[in-house]
């Protein structure tokens, strides 16, 4: 296996500038994850336009955003354990055993165990990413337009059956995103679609405008509605080192959960909330002989933390090799690459190895930085739990306005962003999620172009969409995931209940 890209990547990630950027990303990510109100996707949406306007090269922007993504998965555990309010949807399960431990006066230990589990999961996930990405890219290099189109269908089928409380609503979100992507100049025919003769819409809806509208304006109103009722923040008490005994008990849990997390992350569209729920339920079934799960069992704490960090790494696999994001957050990162006119796909690894390699290498380094930051400095990060909303939300609004305004220097784009945000908030009230819209939006152009190219090759013959073995396999996979929920009805119900719990608490998506 050729891992040259990775060694090259370490050279990219270890330059002083990129090390600093990675450190800043990891630090900000932990803070963002620890804040009960916002999650990785909001943090990335807010900081992406600023990175872009500062003129950072694409690989540095990716390193910054990946640092935030991974950091937030570490930070999410802090509010779960100390406040019993998860920092993001991926940390819901962490509260189940983490908070009881903190109540027993073992908060320091709980934070240490979960920090180690996060490190383990993140590192296993990144190793998986480093090994798996070239293999998948090599496989996908044979994909023609027809195969790509079917791949997108598969991605939406997975999304519909795995994410959210209601498949119909998830698919509505995807469709809305695909529709938004059709706005603007159609390159093959020169037709302007849905531009209303507005020159600014000729290039389509700007990604930054859409993402900030959906993930920060609608989030700000959402925070207003779900203001926490002043739960008690537990002190970081007790010894702050993990007991060797506990670590030993968690080893196999962490191994299993990391693998589950990575696999779930690789599946398109499914994020940390699904992975942590599956791994928690698996460990409970395997190990809960004395009924200790839910009352402060260290394994119940290690499982979701190892899983959600492995998921973050796994989600990069399909995004970097196929151009199909593995989670809402990687969808935003894919959009970020598109800002630089880079369309991720199987060629990315060979054409821009510095981006893929730099990203993967920075995640190895980032996990070390995060472990070093999170073990000794957890008390400092815990302080942000007391940050009042009247300071946090105005700051989010400033970042939104500056982000949109600075990328386009246009007041109109700020107002469009605002309109999208308000509509997004209304959709959230009706229990629609925002992540599918972003996924639909970033996949929209690719999906249409590939469908049209495929039919141009075949002269309009639809059978090209299922003539090759690869596309047949993909159709079968798509049908399987679409039908699977009916067979796994009971398990899916439990999964959905977990997600619904995360959602009704007004938690940001992952």
């Amino acid at each position: 296996m050729n891992l040259d890209y990775l060694w090259h990547g370490f050279a990219v990630a270890l330059t002083p500038t990129n090390l600093l950027i990675g450190f800043v990303g990891a630090f900000l990510g932990t803070l963002i994850g620890a804040l009960p109100a916002i999650g990785p996707i909001n943090g990335i949406a807010l900081l992406l336009p600023i990175a872009y306007t500062m003129g950072l090269p694409p690989e540095s922007t990716m390193i910054l955003l990946a640092g935030i993504y991974c950091g937030a998965e570490y930070g999410g555990r802090i509010s779960s354990i100390l406040l019993n309010v998860p920092g993001d949807a991926g940390a819901v399960m962490t509260a189940l055993d983490g908070h009881p431990l903190a109540k027993q006066g073992r908060a320091g230990e709980a934070l240490a165990i979960s920090g180690l589990a996060s490190f383990f999961g993140g590192t296993v996930g990144t190793i998986g990413l480093a090994l798996f990405a070239p293999a998948l890219a090599a496989l996908a290099i044979g994909f023609g337009p027809a195969e790509y189109f079917v791949l997108m269908v598969f991605a939406f089928a997975t999304l519909g059956s795995m994410v959210g409380s209601d498949p119909v609503k998830t698919l509505v979100g995807c469709t809305l995103g695909l529709m938004l992507a059709t706005v603007g100049l159609d390159p093959t025919s020169g037709a302007y679609r849905y531009t209303f003769d507005e020159p600014e819409l000729g290039d389509g809806i700007e990604f930054v405008v859409l993402v900030i509208g959906l993930f920060s304006i609608s989030e700000a109103i959402n925070i207003l509605e779900h203001q926490s009722k002043g739960g008690e923040i537990l002190k970081v008490a007790g010894r702050s080192l993990a007991r060797l005994d506990d670590i030993r008990r968690c080893v196999w849990t962490a191994v299993r959960s990391s693998v589950i997390g990575f696999v779930v992350g690789v599946l398109p569209g499914t994020g940390a909330s699904v992975a942590s729920a599956i791994s928690y339920m698996t460990e409970k079934r395997l190990n809960d002989r004395d009924g200790t799960f839910g009352k402060g069992d260290v394994r119940g704490l290690a499982a979701p933390e190892a899983a959600n960090n492995a998921t973050a790494a796994g989600a990069f696999v399909p995004m970097l090799t196929l151009g199909v994001p593995g989670s809402g957050t990687t969808a935003v990162m894919l959009g970020a690459l598109m800002l630089y006119n880079i369309q991720p796909g199987p060629q990315l690894l060979t054409e821009r190895p510095e981006i893929v390699g730099g990203l993967v290498a920075s995640m190895f380094i980032g996990n070390l930085i995060l472990l070093a930051l999170n073990l000794p400095m957890v008390k400092i990060f815990a302080r942000v739990l007391t940050l009042p909303n009247w300071i946090l939300v105005p700051s989010i609004l400033v970042l939104s306005v500056v982000g949109v305004y600075s990328t386009h220097s246009s007041v109109l784009s700020v107002l469009i962003m605002l309109g999208i945000g308000v509509v997004g908030w209304m959709l959230r009230k009706l229990d629609f999620e925002m992540a599918p819209i972003i996924l639909g939006f970033v996949l929209g152009k690719v999906m249409e172009v590939n469908l049209r190219n495929a039919l141009a090759i075949s002269g309009g013959e639809l059978s090209i969409l299922w003539s090759s073995t690869i596309s047949q396999v993909l159709w079968v996979m798509a049908l399987t995931v679409a039908v699977a929920p009916w067979f796994l009805a009971r398990r899916m119900k439990r999964l959905r209940a977990v997600e619904a719990k995360a959602e009704s608490a007004g938690l940001p998506e992952d």
Binding site: M179, R193, L224, Q227, P394, S406, L418, E448, R452, G460
Partner: protein, 157 residues
């Protein structure tokens, strides 16, 4: 949170109906997209129209089973939910004429107030936000920010 079941069911149905109408309008507009040539058999109309058909179908399913949805805000929360977007709009419109500092002050002071800060606190917070973010963006990160026509006029005098 789900106080009035009938009302939330109705809200869900209104949402589904709105999606259906949107799908119709989108499909109708899509079928009228003008173009002179196309290098592929599908052309620019088919994909948008197909999406509209899919959305219309999903909207009908959603109408039949609206599923869960949340109660809409009332009272002070509703006022806040209207005030927040209004403050952002005000900030956007003030950026050009009044400049970054004033626009940011208005938005941050106002939104601090919405989130429960007292007026004196909100005003101090607004000043600190305006100055702090200006230093961060304009000085440290060298992002171009509008100084505002007002400020330019003052400097000219």
């Amino acid at each position: 949170m789900h106080g009035d079941h009938g009302a939330t069911l109705r809200h869900g149905r209104i949402g589904a109906a709105a999606l259906f109408v949107f799908a119709l309008v989108f499909g109708w507009m899509g079928s009228r997209i003008e173009y002179s040539f196309s290098s592929d058999p599908l052309g620019p109309r088919t994909f948008p129209v197909a999406l509209a058909v899919v959305l219309a179908g999903l909207a009908i399913l959603n109408f039949v089973r609206p599923g869960r949805n949340e109660a809409w805000p009332r009272g002070a929360t509703l006022v806040g939910a209207i005030a927040l977007p209004a403050l952002v709009a005000a900030c956007a419109l003030l950026l050009g004429p009044a400049g970054f500092l004033v626009a940011i002050f208005v938005m941050t002071a106002g939104s601090s107030r919405v989130f429960g800060a007292s007026w004196p606190k909100a005003i101090v917070a607004g000043v600190l936000h305006a100055v702090g973010w200006y230093l961060l963006f304009a000085v440290l990160l060298e992002v171009q920010l509008p100084s505002g026509d007002l400020f330019k006029m003052l400097v000219k005098r």
